[in-house]
Subunit: 242 residues, 2 copies
Amino acid sequence: MSNEENAGTGRQLEVGILLFNGLTALDFVGPHMILAAAGMKVHLVSATSEPIVSDNGMVITPNSTFDNCPTRLDILLVPGGFVDGVMRDSATLAFLADRGANASYVTSVCNGSLALAAAGLLDGYRSATHWATRDHLAQLGVQVSTERVCIDRNRMSGGGVTAGIDFGLTIVAHILGDDVARFCQLAAEYNPKPPFDAGSPEKAGPETKAIFDEFIAPFDASLRQAVSHVLEQRTTVSSRPT
Amino acid sequence: MSNEENAGTGRQLEVGILLFNGLTALDFVGPHMILAAAGMKVHLVSATSEPIVSDNGMVITPNSTFDNCPTRLDILLVPGGFVDGVMRDSATLAFLADRGANASYVTSVCNGSLALAAAGLLDGYRSATHWATRDHLAQLGVQVSTERVCIDRNRMSGGGVTAGIDFGLTIVAHILGDDVARFCQLAAEYNPKPPFDAGSPEKAGPETKAIFDEFIAPFDASLRQAVSHVLEQRTTVSSRPT
């Protein structure tokens, strides 16, 4: 499926994936592999063409910037990770609001949903997010979904990290059909056999969840502050005299 | 689990992941996320510190080179992708042979197994590989496993692409225990729900497999030549007068 034209559309679909410092690479590398296997053109977009560094130190160079990213994307995708910086960055939020208003699909994986919400793109929509950030998403006024992949009109979102692969296959099927998605799944040998059944807090149990809660506490506090910041900005804007 | 010492070992474990042009990023980004969540230090190693470009155009900068990569790795990991160049590159094969001889675990995801075999590291071992490259691995004299994750003494290998996540959890459990692996699985929300059941050629069926076979044909021919090259080199070496 490396052909230049995506099956059934007559042209190559264009995807914009937001890159930012502190992102979780697996959030976007999963869907990137699937979308590229389906023949889509993927723009890895950041504010500038400077390399970004992932949450575990992986250095990735964007191939597109806020200035030269296509204005009309078929899919806008925001991965998660340390998204608190993005939620406070007016240039990134303006970019998301602009491309989101013009994109055919506005999507996220993991807590990338918080960035979409901060940009005002999830008002009145349902969205999934990483299980540990559901409260934050609700605070921002979004209807939180606990589905692996959530579809609400042209918004599509995956849950935490590895849900990006299920998201990728789902959106490919949605746009290009089941046969293309099945081809992508076979190429990725996506026949998962997790050695444990601990992929949700309910399944992992209270002891494993307690270890995670302690691990995530400092970041959770930063996220809480970022959510407050977004809510304050909204109040400031809405209380301005007209 | 971002602590500097891995549970039960008393020191931070060191992982070397080979980066090369044409690799499939998802092959290593899955296990990278899991191994880093388990507190391991990951070296992304290439011949030089120049960025490499993945099979779908992602630009990644190594943080280690053949010269400065630790000589004694706990885990050596080779991802797959367009590995034919690696199979012909004597500097890369010499690096793999050297670090492989000293590593506690010699591992691969996807057809990274072909590079390990070319470096002579799978002689007398069983190994998994991407389903579409099983014949090539057998040609190199390796006992091919169709398991999702194959363990044979200190060799551990995952099948195609997404098997890297299952591989990552399996090796973390093997070295650091089930509790650490369960923490990593919860962090990655690895609770897969593929929208289709097409992750193996048997499940995908003959029509989807035929599309994949056509897609992969040019690369398959290159791999076939690379396998012949490796076998010729072996014959040349073994037929030299002693």
